[in-house]
Amino acid sequence: MDIKDMEEQSSYIRKNIAPSEPMLRTSRQSTYHWLYTHLFASPINALITLLLATLIIYIAKHLGKWVVLDAIWEGKDRTVCATKIQGGIQNNDWSGACWAFVKANYTQIIYGFYPPEHRWRVNLTGIIAITVNITFLMPSIPYKFINGFISLIIIPIFSWYLLHGGYLSLPLIDTQLWGGLMVTLTIAYISISISFIIGTLLALGRRSQISILRLLCILFIETLRGIPLVSILFIASIMFPLFIPHEITFDKLLRALIGIAIFTSVYIAEAIRGGLQAIPKSQYEAATSLGLKYTTIMCLIILPQAYRLVIPAIINILIGMLKETSLIYIVSMFDLLGMIRITSIQANWITPQTPATAFVTVAFVYWVLCFMMSRYAYFIEKRINLFKQPMIRSKNR
């Protein structure tokens, strides 16, 4: 056969460029099909599905009964949540959550013993911090530098002075009176700010060219990583005052706070160091060859890239830290957990159900806070991945 004939016959060789067509849409699969492939694909698969479903239904039924159906929502004191034997009004086989207790004591759970006429200070701090941080955490809003400065430095200092007072017309409110959710959030927020800054400096120090600085940073990080938080808090609250002169009084809450911040900062330093190591050397080289100096290179080129890589890891550390703040009860400060505990055992509310209700409430509040942080980490992670993938190029390039 002639070659020319072959060419004519071979229809798979394109004479013209085929136009691009829109993607084919597959028809949506039925619910039945989804159930079949995901839950009942094989006998074992079906068995596991049924077992787990039974377990979920069992737990949900009992929990739902305790939390909602048998719960007490209204009431003035312990009698509504106690059985007749315990001196209350409920039947002897009753068991349910005592939401009336939470309702009656929520101000104390939030503000501790902070004087009621000054609670606006707490609210104001909260509103300002939330507003500023929403703008800081939204990636699309520019001026991250100024915003970060306000979030990490101005707000912690400002909120400390506003809450603590003792100047102008703001009366001093001793930190012994602080308590509840506001202490948890204040400690968490200020610790996050401090530890973020110190962590960054430690990470940079650990990679510094100056060997004495590097050595000190390594020593600091490795020492603190080897000490449990509980002992750091004890050192901060009991041993620290022994070292400083008597005239200087250092607030107890502040000491605990700094302890937590420094403890967290070494973990953050290690996370950031991981991020710094992931930035290729060529980035430094390109930047130095343009004549940029160390500080500029770090602030504008290396750290912004490193932070993006480690935000999920940092938030993971911060979630752990938020929950560890409850350890300050050992230095007799009352955070959310401590406050709700002492509230639940006060004479006019104590019943077998109140502590249980209290712990469920606390667990829920912590969960909401942590879940928010975790969702944010997830959102950032997705955004970074999107940023890394080569996007579909525009037609008119």
């Binding site: 004549g291 504008l300 080129i301 890239q305 190029r393």
Partner: protein, 251 residues
């Protein structure tokens, strides 16, 4: 001393007896080399012959143990001030572009003028657009490097260096990471940009590229220059045995 001063009038870069070791490896061996003002030199040679290292030593990205490098009469030593001065005079373009991925094309170009030259943002952007126009990529100014093709990224990298208005440019294998189709484009661009007489040293594996670009070609192997000659004579009549073998393989 007088000799050096006189040399510096005609020589943009003077490399005198430079030695570099990396561990036990002797990477640059008694290197003597000089580049005149407005001269374009291509460094060729097998991989690992020290071409890139030499280039990076000129820009103080790497240090050397012995010898002198004199750039426009300024001796390169390890003081931050000298290094800063020299880096401001020299632009460098890398094999893998090394753009800053978190900044847009425009921000990549304005970063150094703003922070090193303390130029105001508006003026820096105007100048950046001028150079982006020159490398024919100004329509992509708001995109991020990841959204561009390799050739486009390299053009941005060239524009970024030009924004600092360097007197010399070092190219470290500027086309090695590009599609063959893009190579000619980048070559034309470099030729076009350097018509006005910029001093250039270019490390390359592309012989045709070297031949078109350079006035003079130097062949390096094992940390030393084995042969250098004017562009056409180098290719038509290589003297050293190693050069002959190398060229036979490349062409």
């Amino acid at each position: 001393m007088k000799g050096i001063k006189e040399n510096s009038r005609i020589h943009a870069i003077n490399i005198i007896n430079v030695n570099k070791w990396l561990g036990k490896m002797h990477i640059l061996r008694n290197m003597d080399f000089s580049v005149k003002f407005q001269e374009r030199v291509a460094l060729i040679g097998p991989s690992g012959s020290g071409k890139s290292t030499l280039l990076r030593c000129i820009n103080a990205l790497e240090t050397f143990q012995k010898g002198k490098i004199i750039i426009e009469g300024t001796e390169l030593n390890n003081t931050p001030k000298t290094i800063h001065l020299i880096r401001r005079r020299i632009g460098m373009v890398f094999q893998k572009f090394n753009l800053f991925p978190h900044l847009t094309v425009l921000e990549n170009c304005t970063l150094a003028p703003i922070w090193v030259k303390k130029m105001n943002k508006k003026k820096a952007e105007e100048e950046a657009f001028f150079y982006l126009e020159k490398v024919k990529i100004s329509d992509q100014a708001t995109k991020y490097p990841i959204q561009l093709s390799g050739g486009q990224q390299q053009r941005v990298a060239i524009a970024r260096s030009l924004c600092m208005k360097p007197r010399m440019m070092l190219f470290d294998e500027p086309t090695s990471a590009l599609d063959p189709e893009m190579i000619q484009e980048i070559l034309d661009l470099i030729m076009d940009l350097t018509k006005n007489g910029m001093t250039i040293i270019c490390v390359t594996h592309k012989m045709s590229f070297a031949r078109q670009l350079a006035h003079r070609i130097a062949f390096m192997d094992e940390g030393q220059i084995l042969e250098e000659n004017a562009s056409d004579r180098f290719f038509s009549n290589p003297q050293h045995e190693r050069t002959q073998i190398f060229l036979r393989k490349m062409l």
